[in-house]
């Protein structure tokens, strides 16, 4: 069995014209960086992997996670976590409720609450469970988003320009935290970015996407 995230001969078409092509295997703990100018279709690649590709696009090729083909699996059963440049914390839920939403169901209430409290403590946000996400700072929100995703026990991690909204000082800090977390859990990571610094920090292979439609 092939551990990790496998992108086998992936080709995404827009209006019957090829947009991007990728063929790569990401072993556990490795960070694959996909770089390229905006509009080249980096986010489209992630949409294909999460199973949320728009109707204007056609995706071909196989996605496998730990050897299991998930190309046609519904999005919510893929076990692939994703972080965007915005934290996308659900604004109507407290910090704790956001985390509980991410946790797999089951278990006693008290146990779930303890797990949430511990997870928050691990990222330096002890006692934040009842807070309104809108009252948190940008760095705090980014950490909550990371914790929410990790609590859902994903088997792979996608980063869509995840650090581009943070200021320089915060950026390195959050990046290190996320990379460290992924490495500790042995997750394959696919990072999409336009920032060379992110790519350097990832210390992994880099794919440069070029526009295939010759535009």
């Amino acid at each position: 069995m092939d551990k990790g995230l496998t992108l086998r001969k992936i080709c995404i078409l827009k209006d019957a014209k090829p947009l991007i092509e990728v063929d790569h295997h990401i072993p556990p703990g490795e960070i694959l960086t996909v770089m390229g100018p905006s509009g080249v279709g980096k986010s489209t690649l992630l949409a294909y992997i999460t199973g949320t590709l728009g109707p204007d696009f056609t995706g071909m090729g196989e996605i496998a996670l730990d050897g299991r083909d998930i190309t046609t699996t519904p999005p919510h059963l893929r076990q692939i976590g994703i972080l965007f440049q915005d934290d996308l914390l659900f604004p109507h839920m407290s910090v704790g409720a956001n985390l509980a939403f991410g946790m797999p169901p089951g278990g006693r209430r008290a146990v779930r609450q303890r797990l949430i409290a511990e997870a928050l403590r691990d990222v330096g946000l002890e006692g934040y469970a009842n807070r309104d996400p809108a009252t948190l700072s940008g760095g705090q929100r980014a950490r909550v988003a990371l914790v929410r995703m990790m609590l859902s026990q994903p088997k792979a991690l996608l980063l869509d320009e995840a650090f581009s909204r943070l200021d320089v000082a915060l950026r390195a800090q959050v990046r290190t935290l996320i990379f460290q977390t992924a490495q500790d859990r042995g997750l394959p990571v696919l990072m999409v970015t336009h920032d060379a610094e992110d790519a350097a920090a990832a210390k992994g292979p880099v794919i440069e996407l070029r526009s295939l439609s010759g535009g």
Binding site: T50, P55, R78, L88, P91, F101, L158
Partner: protein, 558 residues
């Protein structure tokens, strides 16, 4: 199941319209088996032609429709040209929602209480300015030219078109365009009319068509403000439909088809006018004139806008004053005494009618919300957006005049032996509630950040869990606003309640309009106010509830 909902929605919206038109066509050609009449024959049309009022009624329909639409659109255009983006404009924006939610009938009564020979305006000017010490013998209300009717329509259509323009404005980047025009030496109004208005008009074309079709065929406002000998064509259709002589229904059906043809004709005229105005406008732009005499135009625009808004608001106040008035002689500005007698007498039955009004509105609204949310969710999951053609479908029930298909629907229901009453009324209301709920909820629903759904799916949430736990709560505010819009639409419906209810369902609107001929101003005050309240309360709740429910969630009060 979800995939069936769009189909069901189209069926609920267009089914009654098509069935109603079918039910109009048959009797219009003399075919009404229930009355032992078999067609086809052209007799109903001959009867229509022999009615002495046919020319005048048709003229009234076209003139009031085109007049009200041109005036409303004109006022909105010059007002926005002169004032959008200013502090004055923001004040009007704040007045917009309450004025918009006032039902047509209540606004018409309020206007009548202001401009009648014994109304507030005449009282204010008498006897000092006019020398009148008793109400003058002038036919201001129900004037044969239909001017009062046009005024009553304009005060309600201006806020509607203004709202539609504001929605369109959001996508047109008006500030930058105006700035560029002004830096090129254009005066404000001219620059706005040349650069922003053409783009806005493209967006509000369908609502303008709706205003035209509605103004040509409205019944409740025409009963209150319109002429009586002859009445407008649509009022006469309703009279014929209510005639105990079944043969008159045939004439009514023929007139309904004629009304439909008139609306199509007027829409065609409008389409032609659009082209002429566009050509003149292009020449005006090409000529490069920077604008002259703008001060007067801006002033006039402000006066027109203010008069339009104030006639609704002060009209409501006059309803309130009449409802508690004791003896009130002309030309006193206020009654000699105040009394709770009218409320004691009419309050309890009005409250009971309000209950029935809300039962009908609530049921229609619940169905509408279910269908619309289902359609939008199905649209979201399939990733297919509503096309331009789909938008026309949504506007269709609003473009076919009510008097063209509701009489037919009533005849059809009677002839297949179906019962009139509450349930058919609810479905008839649904025809008009659905498009407004769809239009009001569609944009905020589609503007929602889809990445929330992607994140939630990535966290393992099923599509239904995302819908119930993420999407519905975050979109609570627009959902409640759409609910309020839908309820207000249902509360304001007159003709569907009257015709499809077969006289057995009475809402605040039918009761209020029924009082029009009696002329008991105190009772009209009570019912007009209750009708307005029934439309306003849901809007107030829609504003209040999210603030209460999400009081600890700052992210939802952007």
């Amino acid at each position: 199941m979800l995939k069936l909902l769009p189909l069901l929605t189209v069926l609920a919206m267009l089914g009654p319209v098509i069935a109603g038109l079918w039910g109009t066509v048959l009797p219009a050609f003399g075919h009404l088996p229930a009355a032992g009449l078999l067609g086809p024959t052209l007799d109903p049309f001959r009867a229509l032609l022999h009615w002495p009022g046919v020319t005048e009624a048709s003229r009234l329909s076209v003139v009031t429709g085109l007049g009200a639409t041109i005036l409303s659109l004109g006022i909105v255009a010059v007002f926005m040209a002169g004032w959008s983006g200013t502090r004055t404009f923001r004040l009007f924006e704040r007045l917009l929602s309450p004025v918009l939610s006032v039902p047509h009938a209540a606004a018409a009564f309020g206007l009548a209480f202001l401009i009648a020979p014994s109304g507030w305006i005449a009282r204010l000017a008498s006897p000092g300015l006019t020398g009148w010490d008793r109400p003058p013998d002038l036919l201001i209300l129900q004037d044969p030219g239909g001017l009062a009717l046009i005024a009553g329509l304009v005060v309600k259509e201006v806020p509607f078109l203004l709202l539609m323009s504001l929605v369109a404005l959001g996508q047109a980047q008006p500030k930058q365009s105006l700035l560029v025009a002004q830096s090129l030496g254009y005066r404000r109004s001219t620059g706005w009319l040349k650069t922003v208005f053409p783009r806005i008009y493209r967006q509000i074309r369908l609502p303008v068509f709706v205003v035209l079709a509605y103004s040509m065929s409205v019944v409740d406002v025409a009963l209150i403000l319109g002429p009586t000998t002859p009445p407008t064509l649509s009022v006469q259709i309703v009279n014929w439909m209510g005639d105990p002589d079944l043969a008159m229904r045939l004439t009514g059906a023929a007139a309904a088809l004629w009304q439909f043809a008139l609306v199509l004709l007027a829409l065609g005229l409008w389409w032609l006018g659009e082209r002429l105005v566009a050509r003149a406008g292009r020449a005006w732009i090409a000529a490069g004139s920077r604008g002259r005499g703008e001060g007067a135009l801006r002033g006039a625009a402000l006066v027109l806008g203010a008069v339009s808004a104030l006639s609704v608001l002060v009209g409501l106040i006059s309803l309130a004053v009449w409802s508690v008035a004791g003896f009130w002689s002309f030309p006193d500005i206020f009654p000699q005494g105040w009394s709770a007698r009218t409320w004691a007498r009419h309050g309890p039955p009005a409250l009971q009618t309000m209950g029935e009004t809300f039962v009908v509105a609530g049921a229609a609204m619940a169905l509408a919300l279910l269908l619309v949310l289902g359609c939008l969710e199905s649209e979201h999951r399939s990733g297919r957006r509503l096309t331009h053609r789909g938008l026309w479908l949504l506007y269709l029930p609003l473009l076919v005049p009510q008097t063209a298909f509701l009489p037919g629907l009533q005849t059809l229901l009677l002839s297949i032996g179906a019962d009139t009453g509450r349930a058919p009324v609810i479905f008839a209301h649904l025809v008009f509630v659905l498009p407004y709920v769809f239009l009001s909820l569609g944009d905020p629903w589609r503007a929602w950040d889809r990445r929330y759904a992607t994140v939630a799916h990535a966290l393992g949430a099923t599509p239904w869990r995302v819908f119930c736990q993420v999407r519905l709560p975050t979109l609570l505010r627009p959902i409640l606003t759409a609910t309020a819009v839908g309820l207000a639409v249902s509360v304001g419906q007159y003709l569907p309640t009257l015709l499809i209810g077969g006289g057995r369902v009475s809402t605040l609107t039918t009761e209020a309009v029924a009082l029009a001929s009696g002329g008991d101003r105190r009772a009209i005050g009570v019912y007009g106010l209750m009708q307005t309240l029934a439309a306003l309360i849901p809007f107030a709740l829609a504003l209040l509830l999210p603030t209460l429910l999400w009081r600890n969630r700052r992210g939802l009060h952007g």
